[in-house]
Symmetry: C2
Subunit: 575 residues, 2 copies
């Protein structure tokens, strides 16, 4: 197996030389010493994350990252910075996002990159950038790390959408700096990285003004940008530095982040990857290309949890819940981006469920601790990433597994679950039967994007069933009871198991991948919608539709023609 | 001008012979004497609407409507029946939807029809069927006319989705009748006529069971269908007739529909249509093909309203609010289906705003009357149809217009509005300046699909602005005040008017039609989502995406290959 080489450009080989697999894969692991596109500076409670995109630093060939435009590689660094600020810098209470360029904050996603990218790349790219922007809002709302957009120049398209994810927006009042959403008039696509949704639902811009704004590529600046609620304040260049600093300090003063705490360093993940397997310390995946499936195994903790928050901090990135979450997060991103044809993910766990519950107890009991809070929030975001992943998710619950509490969320996130009733008589007739358990982690700290827990979503409109399940908190439940409570989908016995599971996985590989994506994206979000689910649902689905249409991506489409000096030519039928 | 000939097949010529416009257009006007696909029987409080689809009765050539499968023509008749039951049959309290076929309720949308249809037809067809099914729910919830699905045989796909729109589902327990959603496994598309959303959000089927159900083309019947909440009850053939009758009577007994009232006959619309103009009594549209726009003018009432509900009933279908709503409804459907390249609809009104307010007062004052209730609900549904219409909507508010109360909803539904400040000096310097008015009709009876009024949606998150606007109830507001209150988008004066409006309309025609559709579908629904907006948003957008994908509609796609004996071949990339 080829140990992962660190790579500044976010690329990694798919496999060892000579294996015949010469794909260059996207690598989501980086650290500040490798950043090419961002400058991170920390000054007490205020961090400044300044965009400084290297024109020649594109993740793929064929485009230049001019005017602080971005591609996936730029966003991978941004994601890394956001994660490290949360874990490694408890002292940071305000993060100022700005640019080192004159008159330019950020021109948004690189258009040549989008134009040359195949459909799946566009979709994956937008999904990841959306998740990163939701992560900014999560830090602001739940971590006491407020993001402040200091737009020292024009913010267009994705650049303005990045600002929209921040809790406060300051725009330079210099007669040239504006905010704009030029996607529709110039490119024939949507401001799809949350732009349309956040303008009306977060910034509360009136919908007719929002309509006008999104049709004016020249953008809006100055007083009007404030009056229309597009930004929170405009500040002249003469007072820029002091105003930004004052606002950053003011936001920092409201934070509950601890003073004097030491951060938890996000040390490099020990990851190995071949064409058949991806392995970390606790998480591994077997890639079955013939079946079109990946089998993901999460191993439970090998030792009992530390006694308290002090013990957690001593373990740092090695602490089982944090290590597992990081590994799972990286694996999701790796498979999602690099293994498009593995359409089904089968989740297994391996370990002692009592020990998982003990770790959960430690987390619940120390919920007020900043690091514990970060770990649980990170697990929440990672599970949300799973919810919006366009892969069929199947959980297999067998003897020796540990789908308990926080790990049971994997089964709840799955589209369906199979739990063995009894044991495998031929394998280990004396084994303990499989068990699952729910606990407090399933009833609050890990909500989905729709604002409900996975249990609430599962039992949507059926509060009695929800109450029955939650009454079993901490109990180890065997298959019959789990099925009776509605906590697993099927509970076949030894005789039926192999056939039922095989059919369940194989038939998934026989269905239309697109229809599965659409079905799962609907079923997984029963009940209410939030701004977040609207972004990943309504907005994203429309954008994906537009991306497939010749008016955007055809040879005469607007996205294709942009910058060529030729006009797009549209099929004018309204659909 | 060619007067409209009634047509059983739902077709009408686009223009007079010899004009060069030989398109055959879809006609949404019909009546029970022309039905080919449904049998409507009324027995006191219970109506029975039995599906009896004529195999050779397709609206287009190239497919046979076997097994009670449907196309747009079948659904046009269904829509007509539902409307007539509401208006013409106040005595009907339960509508039983069933089939005259043995062992078959309905096989859903005709697959060959879908496979041969171009993308816009698919989308329009699904939109209209969705609206009709929402109308069934509206009748059940708001009219005291409960729909009961009596599935005397198998209900597949759209057939089951029709049942899902009903308030109660009875399935024959005969060892062969099942409900199923076979779209995904057989056709590579979604159950997109509300199916996926209603299964989880209305029927409250657990999402993992729903997943299994939608992958099993053989369907589920008997006790399991009840246990999984897919149907409300199963009844053996021996007790079928009496059980359905008993349930229908029971539902009827709960209704508040009046006893002994006379219905309002929906007499034929006086409609004329040429290639350049569509005209009714109060509504007309000028079709400007060069500009890609239709200018729609709604004329206000020419006389004062009748004194009371008795007077309304005497006028019946001629009563201005009902006549105008019917005309607007037909026009929306006509333009949406037949004029795909008219991408912008410009709304004008013409009349006395005081008179419109007087009609509104009459409606508000008689809200408890069954017919008034029906008229207002119909207007509500028609305005909702506008909200989900994929056309840019622009309101022009000029001297002589009557955008007041219920007609002001047209301006609120628009993506933007222009209101002239002052008068056209060259045209009529002595004219009264344009005015608008809000009243009680804007504050409750006409909610959008998201459950909010259009005013609430406009001022989403801004309750002070909403309160300020609603404080002006009944006042005639000139442009400056309307703009100040945020009730219109722009208020240019005589000097700027022509240029601003011209640019506003022309630039709309220069943008990508797809991007406009996506933008409008997002902006129009700020704030909360409901089952209805989820169906028209999340579900529909994913379905539209799937429809454009080769895995469904390409030469080797599942929809194309179905019934050919050949297997579909999929690009297995998950997106």
């Amino acid at each position: 197996m080829a140990a992962m080489a660190e790579s500044a450009a976010g690329r990694m080989p798919a496999a060892e030389p000579g294996t015949g697999d010469d794909r260059v894969l996207v690598d989501f692991q980086t650290d500040p010493s490798h950043y090419r596109h961002w400058r991170l500076a920390i000054d007490g409670p205020v961090a400044t994350l300044a965009m400084d995109v290297a024109e020649d630093g594109g993740l793929r060939d064929g485009y230049e990252l001019k005017l602080n435009s971005y591609d996936l590689g730029v966003d991978i660094e941004l994601y890394d910075a956001i994660q490290r600020l949360r874990f490694e810098h408890p002292e940071v209470r305000t993060v100022v996002i700005t640019s080192v360029r004159e008159k330019i904050f950020c021109a948004g996603a690189n258009i040549r990159m989008l134009a040359q990218s195949p459909h799946p790349w566009k979709v994956n790219f937008c999904k990841f950038t959306n998740e990163t922007r939701s992560g900014i809002e999560d830090a602001t709302a739940c971590s006491g790390q407020t993001y402040l957009a200091a737009l020292n120049g024009t913010a267009s398209g994705g650049g303005y959408e990045l600002a929209l994810a921040c809790g406060h927006i300051i725009l330079a009042d210099d007669r040239s700096s504006v905010v704009s959403l030029p996607e529709l008039p110039l490119l024939g696509v949507l401001p799809g990285t949350g732009g349309l949704t956040r303008v009306t639902d977060k910034r509360l811009v009136r919908r007719d003004l929002a309509d006008y704004f999104a049709t004016k590529p020249e953008g809006i600046g100055g007083r009007k940008a404030v009056d229309w609620r597009l930004v929170d304040e405009v500040v002249p260049p003469t007072r820029w530095a002091e105003s930004v600093a004052a606002r950053a300090a003011e936001l920092a003063a409201k934070s509950s982040r601890p003073a004097g705490a030491a951060g938890a360093e996000l040390t490099p993940l020990g990851k190995t990857r071949t064409g058949e397997e991806i392995s970390y310390r606790y998480v591994s995946a077997r890639l079955d290309r013939a079946l079109g499936a990946a089998t993901i195994t999460v191993r439970g903790p090998e030792e009992d949890p530390p006694a308290d928050a002090y013990g957690i901090k001593k373990q740092g990135a090695a602490f089982w819940p944090l290590a597992t979450t990081r590994e799972l997060d990286d694996l999701i991103l790796d498979l999602r981006t690099n293994e498009l044809e593995l359409g089904t993910w089968v989740f297994r766990t391996d370990g002692d469920p009592r020990r998982v519950l003990a770790y959960d107890q430690l987390l619940v009991g120390n919920a007020g601790d900043w690091l514990v809070n970060e770990i649980v929030l990170y697990l929440k975001r990672t599970l949300k990433r799973l919810d919006v992943t366009s892969r069929s998710l199947i959980a297999l619950i067998e003897p020796g597994s540990c789908f308990a509490g926080s790990l049971f969320e994997l089964a709840l996130a799955a589209d369906r679950s199979y739990m063995l009733a009894g044991v495998f008589e031929d394998v280990d007739p004396d084994a303990d039967p499989a068990v699952i358990a729910v606990n407090e982690m399933n009833s609050g700290p890990l909500p989905m994007g729709n604002g409900l827990t996975r249990l609430q979503t599962r039992f949507f409109g059926n509060p009695e069933a929800l109450a029955e399940a939650e009454k079993r908190t901490g109990q180890l439940l065997q298959a019959e009871q789990a099925e009776e409570l509605g906590l697993v989908t099927f509970a076949p016995d030894d005789i039926d198991w192999e056939e039922e599971v095989r059919i369940g996985v194989e038939e998934r590989s026989s269905f239309s991948p697109d229809a599965l994506t659409g079905m799962e994206a609907n079923y997984r979000f029963a009940g209410p919608e939030t701004m977040e689910t609207k972004i990943f649902g309504r907005l994203t689905a429309w954008q994906n539709w537009i991306f497939t249409r010749p008016n955007a991506s055809g040879p005469d489409g607007a996205l294709t023609k942009y910058g060529t000096g030729q006009r797009a030519s549209f099929d004018r039928k309204r659909v």
